[in-house]
C-alpha cells in the first residue's frame, strides 16, 4: 500500500508501507499461537503463555503446495515499511538472503537445519521503529520438507536461546547503533507450513527496560511475517 508521505531512516526511505490489509497478509488458517514459542534473554526463559507445539495443519493439497518454490525474499518481506494493527510503524533497514542456510546461523542451529533434506532458503530482515529505538530481526528459514521444518521448530521451541537465529547488525546507512553484545533480547518463533520464522528483538542501547513493549514489537513483527509466509505457502497468494 503506497503512502503519500515518505519517512526517512538514515538514507533509507519508507516509500511503501504494508498495513497487513493486502491479500497476501490474510490471517493464517491455524489460530495464531498454536505454533509459536518464545523466550526472553539475557535471563533465558520460555514464556509458558506461548505453546511450543508444532502446527497440526495438514492440508489435503499439501503435495501441490509443496511443489511451489519456497518463499522468496521479496515475497516474505514485500515492503520497506510496516504498520501493525496497534498503529506502530517500522522501517525495514536491511534484508539478507542465502540458499546456504547453515552459513548465516550459529553452529547449533546450523547443525539442526542441515539434517534431513535441509533448508532451502534463509532470509533475514532488520526492522526499527519510527523513533529508531528498537531493532527486531525477523528470519525465515524455509525447508523442502514439512517434517524438517517441524523438527527444527520443535527443537528451537525447546531451547530457543541455544538455537536462535543471528540478529543482523544495522548497516551504516541506517544510522543505527550496533546493539552491544550480551544485551537483553526477546526471542520468538513461529512455524508455517514449511518455514520456521524467528524474531529477535532488542533495544538499540542494549538495555533491559520496557520488556513488555519490546515483546509486543517483536511479536507484532513476527506475526506479520508469519501471516505473509503462511498466506504464500498455503496457496492464498
Amino acid at each position: 500500500m503506497a503512502l503519500g508521505v515518505a519517512v526517512a531512516v538514515g538514507t533509507a526511505l519508507i516509500a511503501e508501507e504494508d498495513d497487513g490489509t493486502r491479500p497476501g497478509s490474510a490471517p493464517p488458517a491455524t489460530p495464531r499461537g498454536a505454533a509459536t514459542a518464545s523466550a526472553l534473554t539475557a535471563v533465558p526463559s520460555v514464556d509458558p503463555g506461548f505453546p511450543s507445539s508444532a502446527p497440526s495443519r495438514a492440508p489435503g493439497a499439501l503435495p501441490s503446495l509443496l511443489a511451489r518454490p519456497v518463499i522468496r525474499p521479496e515475497q516474505a518481506f514485500p515492503s520497506t515499511g510496516v504498520r501493525l494493527a496497534d498503529g506502530s510503524r517500522y522501517a525495514r533497514v536491511d534484508l539478507s538472503t542465502t540458499v546456504d542456510c547453515a552459513r548465516d546461523v550459529p553452529p547449533g542451529l546450523a547443525r539442526l537445519v542441515d539434517r534431513g533434506e535441509g533448508c532451502s532458503r534463509s532470509t533475514a530482515a532488520l526492522f526499527t521503529d519510527t523513533e529508531r529505538r528498537s531493532q527486531v530481526t525477523v528470519t525465515v528459514l524455509s525447508f523442502t520438507r514439512v517434517e524438517d521444518a517441524s523438527r527444527v521448530f520443535a527443537t528451537v521451541s525447546a531451547d530457543p536461546v541455544t538455537y536462535r537465529a543471528i540478529a543482523l547488525d544495522p548497516p551504516p546507512r541506517a544510522g543505527l547503533p550496533t546493539v552491544p553484545p550480551g544485551s537483553a533480547r526477546v526471542l520468538r518463533q513461529a512455524m508455517t507450513l514449511r518455514s520456521v520464522v524467528f524474531a529477535d528483538g532488542r533495544w538499540g542501547d542494549g538495555g533491559p527496560a520496557r520488556e513488555t513493549e519490546l515483546r509486543a514489537r517483536t511479536e507484532g513483527l513476527l506475526h506479520r511475517v508469519e501471516d505473509t509466509v503462511a498466506a504464500y505457502e498455503e496457496g492464498r497468494t
Partner: protein, 119 residues
C-alpha cells in the same frame, strides 16, 4: 582466499553469496569467534596497505568507550590500535578478503568482491 566475516553483517553475507555465485574457493573465518592475533592483524594490514585506524569501526560502542576518536593516528600509535583491534574484534571492519596474489581488501561492495576474485 580467506574471508573474515561477522555473520550478523549483511555485507558479509552478500559477499559470501557473490563468492558462491562465482564458484570461488574460499575459507570463512568468523573473526568474532576465531579472533585474529595482533600478528595476524598486522599481516593483514600489510596486505591491505592500510593503517589500523583505516579498518576500525569507530562508530561501535566499544570504540566510544575506548575513546578512539582521540587516539593519535601515527606510527607511534600503530601498535596500540592493533592491540585494540585484537582485544575488541568487533572493531574490525568487515568483510576482509585476502586474495590469492597476496593482497587483501575490505570487500563491502560487489565490485570489491569481484576485484578480489580477479587478483
Amino acid at each position: 582466499m580467506e574471508i573474515w566475516i561477522n555473520p550478523a553483517c549483511s555485507k558479509c553475507r552478500s559477499a559470501l553469496t557473490l563468492l558462491d555465485a562465482e564458484g570461488a574457493d574460499y575459507t570463512v573465518r568468523r573473526y568474532l569467534e576465531d579472533v585474529p592475533s595482533e600478528d595476524e592483524i598486522a599481516a593483514v594490514l600489510d596486505r591491505l596497505g592500510l593503517e589500523p585506524w583505516d579498518i576500525t569501526r569507530t562508530q561501535e560502542a566499544e570504540a566510544k568507550e575506548l575513546g578512539l576518536k582521540d587516539w593519535a593516528r601515527d606510527a607511534s600509535s600503530r601498535d596500540r590500535w592493533i592491540t585494540a583491534l585484537a582485544t575488541h574484534p568487533r572493531l574490525i571492519q568487515r568483510p576482509i578478503i585476502t586474495a590469492e596474489d597476496g593482497t587483501a581488501l575490505v570487500a563491502r561492495t560487489d565490485e570489491a568482491v569481484r576485484d578480489a576474485l580477479s587478483r
